[in-house]
C-alpha cells in the first residue's frame, strides 16, 4: 500500500501526478455526495408534502391556450407541445432580435465615429440614454405605446393598402401559396451556392494572377435575378392574402402582436446601444497607420474597409458581440411582464397548473443553457474563422 513500485521509491502521496488524481477523485466524490444529499432531500421533502414528482405531466393535456404559435397548437395538446411552442416563440424573438440588433448597432457604432458633429453626437446620446434605462421599463413603455396610441381594430390605420395598424398589432398581407414559390426558393438557394463558388474561384484567380473580379455585382445578380426570372417565367403570380376586418378582429394575412412588437423593439433598441459601443471599440482598435498604409498602396475606400479594417476589427468585436447576443436571448424572458408567450411564460403556467416547480425550473434552465451554448458554439466557430483570416 505504501509504495507504488516507481523507480525512485517515492511514497504515492509525494508523487504530484498521483496526488492530483487523488485530489480529483476526492473532489468528485464530494460533489457526488452533495448532489445525492440534495436530491434525496428534495425527494424526501416533496414526498412529505405529497407533491407529485417526475416528468409524467409532459404527456398530459395542457388545457390552456397560447396567444401566438409558430406550429399548430390548441388547448387539447400536451404540455410538451405547449412548451415547444414557447421555446419556438423565444427562438423567434431572439433570432429576429439578434439580426436587427447587429444591423442597428453597427450603423450607430459607425455613426458614433462619424466626422459629422451632429451625427456622432446623436449616436452618442442614443447610446447613453438606451444603456441607462432598465430594459424592463423600456418594454413597458413600448407596450403602452402600442396599446395606448393605436386605435381599435374597427378604426385601424391603413398606411399602405393591405397593411393595418391597430391596438391588436400590425396586420400584413402574405402571398397566397402558389407552386411557383418552391421554384423561386430553389432559384434563390442556387444563386447563393453559385455565389459561394464564384467567390472561391475569383479568390484563387486573384491569388494566381492578381486580376480582380466583380464578384459582388455578379453574385447580387444571381441571388436576386434568378428568383425574379423564375417568377416572371411563372407569369408573375401576385395573389395576396390580405387581412380584412371580420367580427372583433382581422382575419387572413399575418399578424405581428403588440406583445411581440414591443418585446422586439425593447430588446433591439436596448441591446443595439451596447453593440454600437462594441463596434466603435473594434474599429478604433485598428491602428490609424493601417488605414493610411492601405490607402497608400491604392486601395479604394470600400476595399480599405473590407480588406484591411474589418478583418482586424472583427477580431475585437466578435467575443463581446457574442455576449450581447446571449444577453438579448436571456432578456427575452422579460416577455412575461408584457404577455408575450415565450418559454418562461409557458413554463410558468405549466408549473402553476401542475404544481411541479422543480421539474419546470429545471426545464427552463436546460432550455436557456441549450440556447446559450448553441449561440456560443456558432460564434466561437465564426470567431476562429475571422481570427484565421486576420493572420
Amino acid at each position: 500500500m505504501a509504495n507504488t513500485g516507481s523507480s525512485e521509491n517515492v511514497p504515492f502521496w509525494f508523487d504530484p501526478k498521483k496526488r492530483s488524481i487523488g485530489a480529483q477523485i476526492l473532489a468528485l466524490c464530494m460533489v457526488g455526495l452533495l448532489s445525492w444529499y440534495l436530491i434525496s432531500n428534495v425527494l424526501h421533502n416533496l414526498e412529505k408534502q405529497s407533491i407529485a414528482t417526475g416528468f409524467g405531466f409532459l404527456k398530459k393535456e395542457a388545457a390552456f391556450e397560447i396567444g401566438e404559435s409558430l406550429i399548430s397548437y390548441s388547448a387539447a395538446d400536451t404540455y410538451a407541445r405547449a412548451l415547444v411552442v414557447g421555446a419556438l416563440n423565444t427562438v423567434k424573438v431572439a433570432f429576429i432580435g439578434i439580426v436587427l440588433t447587429i444591423v442597428l448597432g453597427t450603423v450607430i457604432g459607425i455613426a458614433r465615429l462619424s466626422k459629422n458633429w451632429l451625427v456622432s453626437r446623436l449616436a452618442g446620446a442614443y447610446i447613453e440614454v438606451m444603456q441607462d434605462i432598465p430594459v424592463l421599463l423600456q418594454l413597458f413603455f413600448w407596450y403602452a405605446v402600442f396599446y395606448e396610441s393605436l386605435p381599435a381594430p374597427r378604426l385601424a390605420l391603413n398606411p399602405v393598402p393591405g397593411v393595418f395598424l391597430c391596438n391588436r398589432g400590425v396586420m400584413l398581407p402574405v402571398l397566397e401559396s402558389h407552386p411557383a414559390h418552391f421554384y423561386i426558393l430553389l432559384a434563390f438557394v442556387l444563386g447563393i451556392v453559385f455565389s459561394v463558388y464564384l467567390k472561391r474561384w475569383a479568390k484563387k484567380r486573384r491569388d494566381a494572377t492578381g486580376k480582380p473580379f466583380p464578384v459582388f455585382t455578379l453574385s447580387a445578380f444571381m441571388v436576386l435575378g434568378l428568383p425574379i426570372m423564375v417568377w416572371l417565367g411563372f407569369g408573375m403570380p401576385v395573389k395576396m392574402d390580405v387581412p380584412r376586418l371580420s367580427g372583433f378582429n382581422f382575419e387572413g394575412g399575418t399578424t405581428l402582436s403588440p406583445e411581440f412588437m414591443a418585446l422586439l423593439m425593447g430588446l433591439v433598441l436596448y441591446t443595439a446601444a451596447f453593440v454600437a459601443e462594441v463596434v466603435r471599440a473594434g474599429i478604433q482598435s485598428v491602428g490609424k497607420g493601417q488605414r493610411e498604409a492601405a490607402m497608400s498602396i491604392g486601395l479604394k475606400g470600400g476595399q480599405v474597409l473590407t480588406l484591411v479594417i474589418l478583418p482586424q476589427a472583427l477580431r475585437v468585436i466578435v467575443p463581446p458581440l457574442t455576449s450581447q447576443m446571449l444577453n438579448l436571448t436571456k432578456n427575452s424572458s422579460l416577455a412575461v411582464a408584457i404577455g408575450y408567450p415565450d418559454f418562461v411564460s409557458v413554463a410558468n403556467t405549466t408549473i402553476n397548473q401542475t404544481g411541479q416547480s422543480i421539474e419546470g425550473v429545471a426545464l427552463i434552465m436546460i432550455v436557456y443553457l441549450f440556447f446559450s451554448l448553441a449561440t456560443s458554439a456558432f460564434m466561437n466557430w465564426y470567431n476562429r474563422r475571422v481570427a484565421l483570416v486576420e493572420r
Partner: protein, 339 residues
C-alpha cells in the same frame, strides 16, 4: 419575469435545503415568531389591497386577521405577503407563508399533486366576462374571434379555454402576470374582454377610468369556491384555520356581532356559551385560548359584517350576498356545529 424565476429558485432552495423531519408544528412556529404570515393578493379592491395609508383591507385580509386573532388574541399580529397567481402555491409549499388567503379556487389537483388542503370556503364565486358596453355583446357565446385578457396560473385560464373549446369558437388569450398591467391593457382596448371571477371583475370595474362603460355578461362559466389554503401534513394547523373561518359564519348564525359580543357572554344559550369560551373546552381542543372565538368576533365582526364592510352593496363593488348568504337565508354559508 426575472423576479418570478428568482422567486421560484428561492422557493426551491427552501425545498432543497430544508432538512429532516419537521420538528415543530406550524402553530408553535407562528407563536415563537410572534406574528402570522399570510399570503394575499396584491391588488384586488375589496378582497385584499393596501389603502392609501398602507393598511391592508379586504375580505381575504380580514379572514387572515381572524386566524391571527384566534392564535394571539390580537388581529394585528400579522404580516402580509403580496403574491401573484403564479407565486402563491410555491410560496405556501416552501413555508414562506403560514396560510394563503388569496382568492384561490379549491380543486382536486391542488389538494393532491400540489400537496395542499383547502379549509372552509370564505367566498363562493364563479367566472364571468367583463366587456366594454360599446362592443354591443349580449352573451359570452357571441365572443367568437375575441381577444381575451386573462391572468396566468389560474383556474380561470383553464375554464376560459374549456368554454371556447366547448362552443367551438376561435379566440386569442393575452396573458399578463401583474393584475395592474392586465387591467391597463384591457381598459385601453388591447382585449375585447376580461375574464376572471365575477367578484374580481366587479373589483376591477370599480377602479376603471369610467366604470359605467363596462358591463358583466350574464354567463357564469364555472364554480369557484375560494378558500384559505394550508400545507398537507399539519392537521392541528388545518383545524385552527378551518374553524377560524367557520367561527365567522357561526357567529353570524348566532347573531353575535362585534358590537354585542360582550353582552352575548352573558347569554343563557349553551351553544353560545361553548362558542365564546364561557363553557371551556373548544379552545383547548384546538390548542388555543378559550377566548379564541370571542377575540375573532370582538376584533373583526362576523362573516356578514366583514362581507358588508368590504364588498357589500354599500361599497363600490356593490355585491349582493347571493351564494354567500347563510344557509338559513338561501345561501351556501354553513358552519359545522361547535361542540
Amino acid at each position: 419575469m426575472r423576479k418570478t424565476v428568482c422567486f421560484f429558485v428561492l422557493a426551491l432552495a427552501v425545498l432543497v435545503f430544508a432538512t429532516g423531519p419537521a420538528v415543530a408544528g406550524t402553530l408553535d412556529e407562528v407563536k415563537a415568531r410572534g406574528y402570522l404570515i399570510a399570503g394575499v393578493n396584491g391588488g384586488v379592491f375589496g378582497f385584499s389591497m393596501p389603502d392609501d395609508k398602507g393598511t391592508w383591507k379586504g375580505l381575504d385580509v380580514d379572514t387572515a386577521k381572524a386566524i391571527a386573532a384566534a392564535v394571539f388574541g390580537d388581529a394585528e399580529k400579522i404580516k402580509f405577503s403580496a403574491l401573484t397567481a403564479v407565486q402563491r402555491l410555491p410560496a405556501l409549499q416552501s413555508k414562506e407563508i403560514d396560510v394563503l388567503c388569496r382568492n384561490t379556487t379549491q380543486t382536486l389537483t391542488r389538494e393532491t399533486t400540489n400537496g395542499l388542503n383547502f379549509v372552509h370556503v370564505n367566498y363562493y364565486d364563479g367566472q364571468g366576462f367583463l366587456v366594454p358596453k360599446k362592443l354591443g355583446v349580449k352573451s359570452a357565446k357571441e365572443l367568437k374571434g375575441a381577444t381575451v385578457c386573462v391572468l396566468p396560473g389560474t383556474t380561470t385560464e383553464l375554464n376560459v379555454a374549456d368554454f371556447f373549446r366547448k362552443h367551438n369558437m376561435e379566440w386569442k388569450p393575452v396573458v399578463i402576470e401583474q393584475p395592474a398591467e392586465l387591467n391597463k391593457a384591457f381598459f385601453s382596448g388591447r382585449c375585447d374582454c376580461l375574464t376572471s371571477d365575477a367578484s374580481q371583475l366587479a373589483a376591477h370595474r370599480s377602479v376603471a377610468p369610467n366604470p359605467d362603460d363596462y358591463v358583466l355578461l350574464p354567463e357564469i362559466i364555472s364554480k369557484e369556491p375560494l378558500a384559505p389554503v394550508v400545507r398537507h401534513g399539519d392537521d392541528q394547523w388545518y383545524d385552527i384555520v378551518n374553524w377560524s373561518v367557520m367561527a365567522l359564519i357561526q357567529a353570524e348564525e348566532f347573531g353575535i356581532t362585534s358590537k354585542n359580543v360582550d353582552e352575548m357572554l352573558k347569554s343563557k344559550d349553551p351553544g353560545i356559551q361553548r362558542f365564546l369560551g364561557v363553557t371551556p373546552g373548544m379552545g383547548k381542543a384546538l390548542g388555543l385560548d378559550e377566548r379564541w372565538a370571542y377575540n375573532i368576533i370582538k376584533q373583526l365582526g362576523n362573516y356578514g359584517e366583514i362581507f358588508e364592510r368590504n364588498v357589500g352593496v354599500n361599497t363600490p363593488l356593490k355585491l349582493e350576498r347571493g351564494l354567500n348568504a347563510l344557509w338559513t337565508e338561501g345561501g351556501l354559508m354553513y358552519a359545522a356545529p361547535f361542540r
